[in-house]
Every structure is written in C-alpha cells, then in structure tokens.
Amino acid sequence: MTKERTQVADVDRSLYDFTKSEEGYERYADGLTPDIVRAISAKKDEPQWMLDLRLKALDEYHRRPMATNWGPSIAGLDLDHISTYVSPKTKQASSWDDVPADIKDTFERLGIPEAERESLAGVGAQYDSEIVYHNMREEVAKQGVVYTTIEDALHDPTWEPVVHEYFGTLIPMTDHKFAALHYAVWSGGSFVYVPAGVSLDYPLQSYFRLNAQGAGQFEHTLIIVEPGANLHFIEGCSAPKYYEANLHAGAVELFVKDGARLRYSTIENWSKNMYNLNTKRATVGADAKMEWVSGSFGSHVSYLYPTTILAGDRSSCEFTGITFSGATQDLDTGCKVILNGRDTTASVSTKSISKDGGINTFRSSVVVGRHADNARCTVSCQSLMLDNISRSDTIPAMDVRNPTASVGHEATIGRISDDTILYLMSRGCSEQEARTLVVNGFANPVSKDLPMEYAVEMNNLIKLEMEGAIG
C-alpha cells in the first residue's frame, strides 16, 4: 500500500511576493563610492558631522575584512551590483490617502493600515530607502513621545543634538564590516524618544519594505526610553523575491534607561534572495528591562544576533526567538548578552526548525564581567530537524569572569520522536494531528509572546500541512 509521507509545508511567502514598478524612482548607481555617500548625505541635507561620519565609515568598510573562519558564505553578495539608495518619487505622508496608490496598496496587502487603526500607537512605513508614511496618535504625542525619522530629527534643533549624542555610539562603525557599510549609506528608519515615566498603552510599529531589485536597505532605528518609561516597539520587514541579490544592513540602537522597560518584537520575512546582515543592540540601565521577541523566517543568508548590555545593577533581559530555515536558506541567528551590572539576570530561549535542506545555526555569547556580582543567566536552545537533508548547529559561547555568577546553558537537537507520535496516537490523535500538536507546541512559546496579529502571521508563515499516515 502506498503511503504518503508526512509533510511540513515551507514558509508561505505568497503574501509578500509581489512587486511594483520602479518607474520614475530615483536610483543611485550600483556600487559604493565617496560620491554616492556624499550624494545620499546631500539629498538629506545633513549636518556636516553626519557626512564626516559617513565618509569615515566608508573607509572603515573598505579597510575591514570579513571573518573567514565562521558564518555562512556571502560570496554571492557583490556590492558593485547593489544600489545603496532607491527612493520612490513621493514625500513622507501622515495620511495613507497621500501615499501613492501602488505603495499604499503594498502596505494594505501587508495589513499595516488596518493594524494601525486597531492596535498601534503609531506607524512608520519605509519603502526602499525612504520613509513614505509616518503617523502617531495625538494622545501619544501629547505625552511628549517623539516618533519620527532620523532625518527629520536631524532637522529639528531640539532633537539634532540628541541624535548627535546617541547615534552610532552603541554600535560603533568598527563593530564589523557591515556596520561600517551601514553608517556609510544609512537611510530611513526611526527615531523614538519616550520621556521619563511615560508608558505607552499600544505599541509603535515600523515596517520596512524593500521593493527594488538589486538594492540595499540600510535603515537606522534609534530608540531612547527614559527612566521609568515603558515602550513596545514592533518591527516588520519583507521583500518580493528576485534572482538578483538584495542586501539589508540596518542598525538598531536601543537605550533603556534606569527603571525603564522596552519590548522589541520583530517578524522578519525577507525573500530568499536577501542577505540580511543586520545589527541590533540595547544598553540597559539599573532596574530596567529589555525584552526581545524575534522571528526569522526569510532571507537567503542571515547574520543576526541582537545584543543586550546589562550595564545597570539589577537590570534584566529576556530573549525569545524562533528561526525557520527552508530550501536555499542559511540562517545564522542567536543573541549576545553582556552582564556588567550587579544582580543582573538574563534569560534566553530559542527554537529553530530546519527543513528542505535549510541550515540553521544558533550562535550566542554570554559574557559576565568582572564586577557583575551575582549575575544569573540561562540559555535554552532547541532545534527541530524535519528531514535528513537539512542541518542544524548550535554554537554558544560563555565567558565568565566573576566567581559569584551562575550561568547555565542547555541545547537539544533532534527530530520529532516516534515515541511521542505513537504516544499521542495511542490517545486518539491521528498522525497528522500528533505532528501538528508537537510542532505547534514547539513554536508556541514564541508565538504567545508576539502581538496577536504577528502571532497569526507567524502561524501563517509556518503553515503546517500534515498529510498521510505513518510511512
């Protein structure tokens, strides 16, 4: 008797896989030259210090080699065939009615205006290199919250000094080669300032859509949460699939001051031609808390390790992440935690699923500094292999320099065990129900931490279609 194999479907990207014409767009030449960097700066009418920073970063990019002894190959990425600036011919709008029809249609298909109406305190929407829509609820603005673009903040005498003070300080341009590239050509992104003691009832959300073929997106997100304040920030990103390489090298700098709390949720669903070389970092003050919720589903290659520096005493962080790697994908993801304050705590929990030849690598580092008395950190990493042509590696590192610290790490890799399936079947489940239960249970700790609409999106992304009987 022929029996069908049990299958878990690949990520369904049909929702994201549509393109819009670039006709009439402003597109800079491919490659990376000082002239291009100057042109981007001039286009944005930036202060001199920002242009100087960009040019210095360009030198750093050319000077700095890529490490050759770890990480997925980025041999297919050729900066000579990447345009670092593509802009639709439109101005930033604060009403969706003022956004060009094709771009508005794009974001409507992604559900952004609807989400804004229902559950968000503000939205920023970036299309290729520029923010095309930005809006925030009036009552939030009245609390003194600032949610704008970095470009606009640079043109505001009140906020330009603040940007100058913080920009590029948490992620230095010397951090790695693509951090340097980011600073040379950054464009778009968000500037968020939450005054002391202000707590936002609804999240802010930025959505990044890269429509242009053979282009890069280099948005910079700078968030300052003052003492005692509370913010949930959501970041979404997607792109249609091309056969040419695209590049995403954004940067996210998060300053969480004493007693503040920041939750940063991301669902990343770049297309499979994308090199996602993103850098995210948070510094956390005394008694403050940083929470990361991260879903990585797309891209051809990812290097993504959100970093938390627990600088203040009694500061804490939680990292919850899930990665799904299918055919042609090599996703190197994880996180870094640096515990420097006293009585700091960190908790890391990640899941990964590999299928159809996809490669998942969980990479982490936990560094406990010399003065981090009573630091506590736990790392848990679980990987599920759904076939025997995929691959899953875990490469955690721990560096502990305080004798009072307690650090624990555990990791498991394997497939859904036959025993588990048989146990559930003996209780009346069909095989497909049993497998669905196990995989849903595996992903559930992450989806329950996401806002509802993102949890639904994640479940759609990992669309599990179980068929057949035991083979």
Partner: protein
C-alpha cells in the same frame, strides 16, 4: 628571554570544527614551542594509517610533535587478546620530553593506555604527547591521561582515536594544574554502534592556563557518545574549553551528549566555554549543557550548619578531585604525577593521607 630563533609559533591550535566570533578569543590557542631541532634527520614515523587520524590539537601540533619526538613508538595489540599491562607513555616535563605513540588495537582486543606527564618544575620547558589509536571492530580501549606540570612549564596533550564497528573507547583525563596545559582530543566513531565516553576533570589555580578541545565525530549508525567535563578554577586561572559533538550525515540512530560543570572560586578567574553540537542528520539526538558557578547559598547553608566555612567547603571540592585522580591513576607514573600535584596544592600531609587510603583499599582488595 627566549631565543626567538629557537622557537616557533603554532597558531590555531585546538581549533574546533565550528568556530565563533573571533573577538571572544575562544576559538583556539596560540603556542610558542621549541623550533624543530632535528632538521636533516630522518623522522621515525608510524605506519601510514595513523596519518589519517584526526587529532584534537590539529595538524600543526601533529607535525611539530612528529618532527620533535626522539622516536615514534608503535604498539599493536593482537586480535581477541586482553593486554594485562597498560601501555604507558611517561613524559618527564622537566626534560621537555616529546612522545609520539601509535596504538593499533586489533579486532576484539582490550587494552589500557596511560599517559602520565609531570615534573617538578625544575625548568621552563615544553613537553608533549601525541597519541593516535586505531580501535578495530569490537575493540575496547581505555585511555587515562594524568597531567600535572610546573607553573613555568607548558605541555601539549593531543589524542586522536578512530573507532570501528562496536568498538568502545573510554578516555579519562585529569588536568591537575601547571603553567600552560593544552588538551586536544578527537574521537571518530566511524563504525556502527561504536561508543565513546570522554571525561575530563581539571583543577587550575595561580596563573595556570588550561586549554581544552574535545571533538567527537559520530559517523557510524547508532553510535553513542558521552562527554563530561568538570573542574575547579581558583585564583587567576584561565580556562577555555571547546567541546563538539558532530553528528555527521548518515549517523542515523546516534546519540551524543556533552555536559560541563565548573566551580569558580577565584576572583580573577577567566572561564570560557564553547559547547557545540553540529547536526547534519535528522534521526539523531544531540544534547549539551553547561553549568558555571560557585558553591551556592543553599549548599553553603547546609555546610555551614555542619561547621564548615566557605573556604573549608571549597577545599573539600578540591580534595575530592585530587583523591579521584589518585584513586583512578592506573599505574605508577600516573599515580606519582597525581600525588605530586596534590602535594603542591593541598600540602604533603593531605596528599599522603590520600595515598595511604588508596594503598589500604588496594591491600584490602588483594
């Protein structure tokens, strides 16, 4: 100051199969060793078969040892025999001895191999042992390594084992302190149902530097590997441990696990751990865990109720480790190394108490 012309730098030593961020400085160790001094000599080599064996410290150390060793010793254990006396590799670290040993354990044979490396710290030397073992079908191999050297000395301890179907490999390592000690162990479970237990117990204090690379590659079907490391770090000791379970494509039904437990006593200790699982097969199980900490408050309360201070409690853990090394040292050279290091760390009286109790137990057994 060392004569630069008389030394050579070996970089990327103890490099694991998969690496991480270089800025953590945990991917490898760089060692300065005496320069190859026998240029023009004919090196005594092991049979060609041994050149295919992956060794834990890497190719550069293998090349250096084979060119530096005074001799290459080949031992064959005939099929279906039990070798009663262990094969002993004794390395006098005071003399900077370098040993190159190859052991062929034929099908169904059983053997114990002991590497004992130690000295009295008479001179700042570099010593080394390279041990390569081929375990044929159904062979049983027990390797015991006891290393305790002087604070100004450096020792390289590299092991490579290839295990065929149903072979059993047991590796017991004791790193009992000293200047710079590098352990590299690679076990390839090439045959179906092959098994490996790799266990390391370590102690490092003062400014000791311990660097460890454990690699178990599970290639055959239904192989089983257990890797356990536990140790104590005091004062300003530095330790880097890389432990890799590599579940190679085709190793269906295999299970591998690795766990490390570290007690940190010293304020200036640097403790780095990189426990890695590489998985290229779905029908396998891989697990690893690491616990890094000190004697916990609850444990301390329990011990304090019994009149023990923190220092007393810490000393108990150290004593237990050395006692274990002395008890499990299977022959005289290894025993001497363990007792000598126990004397250095715990004092002569305690060390001799251990020794006496071991003797008593042996007498009673006899």
């Amino acid at each position: 100051m060392a004569d630069e012309n008389a030394t050579v730098v070996l970089d990327r030593v103890n490099e694991p199969p998969a690496q991480t961020w270089n800025r953590l400085r945990a991917n490898d160790i760089t060692l300065t060793v005496p320069k190859i001094s026998r240029k023009g000599d004919v090196y005594f080599a092991l049979p060609q078969l041994f050149s295919h064996i992956e060794c834990g410290m890497g190719e550069k150390v293998t090349s250096w040892v084979t060119s530096q060793a005074a001799d290459a010793r080949y031992v064959e254990v005939p099929a279906h025999t039990v070798r009663e006396e262990p094969i002993v590799v004794a390395v006098d670290t005071d003399k900077g001895e370098v040993a190159d040993t190859g052991v062929m354990v034929r099908a169904g044979a059983t053997v114990s191999i002991v590497v004992a490396a130690g000295g009295t710290n008479a001179a700042a030397t570099t010593s080394a042992s390279l041990l390569r073992v081929i375990a044929e079908e159904g062979a049983t191999v027990t390797i015991t390594e006891v290393v305790g050297i002087g604070s100004s000395q450096q020792h390289l301890e590299s092991v490579g084992v290839d295990a065929d179907d149903d072979a059993r490999v047991e590796v017991r390592q004791y790193a009992l302190g000293g200047g710079t000690v590098a352990f590299g162990t690679a076990v390839s479970l090439s045959g179906d149902r092959a098994r490996a237990n790799v266990g390391l117990r370590y102690f490092a204090d003062g400014k000791d530097h311990l660097d460890v690379n454990h690699v178990v590659r599970q290639r055959g079907k239904n192989t089983i590997a257990h890797v356990r490391e536990n140790g104590i770090l005091d004062d300003a000791a530095e330790k880097a441990l890389r432990a890799t379970i590599d579940l190679v494509h085709g190793a269906r039904g295999s299970k591998g696990d690795e766990a490390e437990s570290v007690l940190v006593f010293g304020d200036d200790v640097v403790n780095k751990t990189v426990p890695v699982i590489l998985c290229d097969e779905d029908d396998v199980q891989g697990n690893h865990g690491a616990t890094i900490g000190t004697v916990g408050p609850e444990q301390m309360d329990y011990l304090a109720d019994r009149g023990l201070s923190r220092k007393d409690a810490e000393a108990l853990f150290v004593r237990a480790l050395f006692e274990d090394a002395i008890i499990n040292a299977p022959e005289a050279h290894a025993h001497d190394v363990a007792v000598r290091q126990a004397e250095r760390v715990l004092g002569a009286e305690v060390a001799h108490d251990f020794d006496a109790s071991v003797q008593l137990a042996e007498d009673e057994e006899a």
